[in-house]
Amino acid sequence: MSRLAFSGTLVLLLCAVAALATLWTPHPVDTVAIGARFQAPSPAHPLGTDHLGRDLVSMLMAGAANSLGVAAAAIGLGAALGTAVGLLMCATGGALHVALLRASDLLFAFPALIVAAILATAFGPGAGVAVVAIGVFNVPVFARLAAATGAGLMATHFADAARLSGKGEFRTAVEHALPNMLPVIATQAATQFAIAILAEAGLSYVGLGVQPPDVSWGRMLAEAQTLVFMAPGLALWPGLAIALSVCVVTAFGERLRVQFDPRRP
C-alpha cells in the first residue's frame, strides 16, 4: 500500500469513528452518573469514566464527531470562501483587487480568538461560533494561496488561449485557474484541517468552543487540567486523540503535497 493510501486510510478511519459516534456510542454521553465517576478501566469502561461518571471511550468517540466536525466545517468554509476570494483577485485588477487584498490582510491581522470571543458573545458560544471563527481565520490563508497560485495560472498560455477564445477574465479563472489549483488547495486544506483541530481545542480551553452537553476533545482536555495529578487518564486520552489525529492528517497532507508535486520523479 502506498504511503498516500495508508495515511488516507487512517484519515478515513478517523472520520468513520466520528460518523459512527453521531449515531451510536457504547454508553450515552449526555447523562451523568456522579456515583460512577473516576472509575478505573474495566470491561464495561475500557478507559474508565470521567469526573461525571461518563464512559471515556464514548466521550472520545463523541468528541471525535464534534472536534473533527468543527474542523472540517471550518476548513470547508475557509477554503470555499478563500478560494472564491482568491479567484476573484486573479480575475480582477485595479481597485477591486487592491481592496480584496487589503480586506484579506485585515482579516489575517485580526486576532482570531477575539473574533471568536465577539461572535460567542453575540450568538452564544458553541460549535457554530467555533466553525465561523476558525473558518474566518482560514479565509485569508486560502485567499492568498489561491491568488498566488491563480496568478501563475492566469499567466499561462492556456489562459491566454482562453482569452483569445473570447472568454472574460472571470470565466477564464473559473474554467482554467480553478481546476488547476485544486490540488494545491486540497493539500493546504489537509494541513489547515490539522491546525483547526488544535484551534478547536484552544477555543474550548477558553470556553468558546463546543458547549456542554456536547463533547469535544478540547473541552475534555480543558476540564481534565486540574485533575492531571489524580486522574491523569482524563487528560491523557483526549490529548492523545488530538495529537494522533493532527499527526495523521498532516501526514496525509504531506503525502498529498508530494503526490501533486510537479517535480515528483
Partner: protein, 315 residues
C-alpha cells in the same frame, strides 16, 4: 527615488485605511453586543440613577457615530481614552501589557528561529535520509501536541518538580533576570508548535532551492552538500522564510491568550479577552488597533527584510 516615495506613501495610506476599517469593524461589533460596562461595574444593587450617571461619565450615552468620532480623534493623538473597568488611560494599560507580550513574542520567535532554521537546513541537506525523517517526525510531533499539554508539562517539570522557574505570573522588568525566567517556559510552549511549522515550511523552501544548479555549482566548486545547502540554498530561501516568520510574530503577539492563561501572564491577549467580556470598549478598541497595526507593520518589516535578503524581490 520618486517611485520609492510614492510606494512609501501608498503603503502608509493603505495602512491607515486598514486601521480605519479595523477600528470601525471592532467598534460596531462590540457595540452591537448585549451587555453594558456600567452594569458590570455597579453590579446587582445599583440604582438606575447611578447607572445613568456612570454611563454618562463613560460617554456611553452619546450616539454611536459621535462615540466613534471621539475615539478616532483621540486615537490620532495616541490617546485611546480611559478604560471603563480600570479607569486608567488605555494607553498606559497597553504599554504595561505590551511589556509582557512583546518580549514574550520576541523570545518565542527567536527560539522558534533558533530551532527551526538549523533543523530545516539539516533535514534539507539529508533529504530522504534518516536525519530528514527524524526532523520530520519531531516537527510533526511538535505540531501535534496540544499547546495546553505542553505548557502544563513544562510547568509540572520545571516549576513544580524542579522549582527552577515560577509556574506563572510576571514580576515586572525591574529585575530583568526574574522577568526573563518568568517568560522562559511560556516562550517555549508558545514557540514549539510554531517552530514545528517553521521547520517544515523552511525545509520545503530550502529543498525547493537545493536542486537548483547554483547549489550543485557550490558542490562543483568543492563545498560539501551540507555547506552548499547552508551557503547557497538557505540564503536563497530566506525571503519566503522571513515572510512566514513575520506572520508568525503577528500570531504570537495576539494569539498567545491560551499560554497567557495557563501561565497567568498579564499580556495583551488576556487583556483584550477580558475587555470583550466586560464590554470595556476603549480597551477593546485600543488593543485591537495596536495589535492590527503591529501585525501590519511587522509584516511590512519582514517584507522589507525579505527584499534585502532577496534582491530580486525589490521593485
Amino acid at each position: 527615488m520618486g517611485g520609492q516615495l510614492r510606494a512609501f506613501v501608498t503603503g502608509l495610506l493603505s495602512l491607515v485605511a486598514t486601521l480605519l476599517a479595523a477600528s470601525a469593524l471592532i467598534f460596531l461589533a462590540v457595540n452591537l453586543l448585549p451587555g453594558d460596562p456600567a452594569a458590570v461595574l455597579l453590579g446587582q444593587n445599583a440604582s438606575d440613577a447611578a447607572l445613568a450617571a456612570l454611563r454618562e461619565r463613560l460617554g456611553l450615552n452619546a450616539p454611536l457615530p459621535v462615540q466613534y468620532g471621539r475615539f478616532l480623534a483621540g486615537a490620532l493623538t495616541g490617546d485611546f481614552g480611559q478604560s471603563a473597568t480600570y479607569d486608567i488611560p488605555v494607553t498606559t494599560l497597553i504599554v504595561t501589557r505590551a511589556a509582557v507580550s512583546v518580549p514574550l513574542a520576541l523570545m518565542a520567535v527567536l527560539l522558534c528561529v533558533a530551532v527551526a532554521l538549523p533543523a530545516a537546513q539539516f533535514a534539507a541537506a539529508r533529504r530522504g535520509r534518516g536525519g530528514d525523517a527524524a526532523v520530520e517526525f519531531l516537527a510533526r510531533a511538535g505540531l501535534s501536541v496540544p499547546n495546553i499539554w505542553l505548557g502544563l508539562g513544562l510547568i509540572v517539570l520545571f516549576a513544580i518538580e524542579l522549582r527552577l522557574v515560577p509556574a506563572g505570573g510576571f514580576p515586572g522588568w525591574a529585575d530583568p533576570s526574574a522577568a526573563l525566567a518568568a517568560l522562559l517556559l511560556p516562550a517555549i510552549a508558545l514557540a514549539a508548535p510554531q517552530a514545528a511549522i517553521l521547520t517544515r515550511l523552511a525545509r520545503t523552501a530550502i529543498v525547493e532551492r537545493a536542486d537548483e544548479d547554483f547549489v550543485t555549482l557550490g558542490q562543483a566548486k568543492g563545498l560539501s552538500r551540507a555547506a552548499a545547502v547552508r551557503h547557497h540554498a538557505l540564503p536563497a530561501a530566506l525571503a519566503p522564510i522571513l515572510t512566514i516568520i513575520g506572520l508568525q510574530f503577528g500570531f504570537l503577539l495576539a494569539g498567545a491568550i491560551i499560554i497567557e492563561t495557563v501561565f497567568s501572564l498579564p499580556g495583551l491577549g488576556r487583556l483584550l479577552f477580558q475587555a470583550v467580556a466586560q464590554r470595556d470598549l476603549p480597551v477593546v478598541q485600543g488593543v485591537t488597533l495596536v495589535l492590527v497595526a503591529a501585525v501590519v507593520v511587522v509584516n511590512a518589516l519582514c517584507a522589507a527584510l525579505a527584499r534585502i535578503a532577496d534582491p530580486r524581490v525589490a521593485r
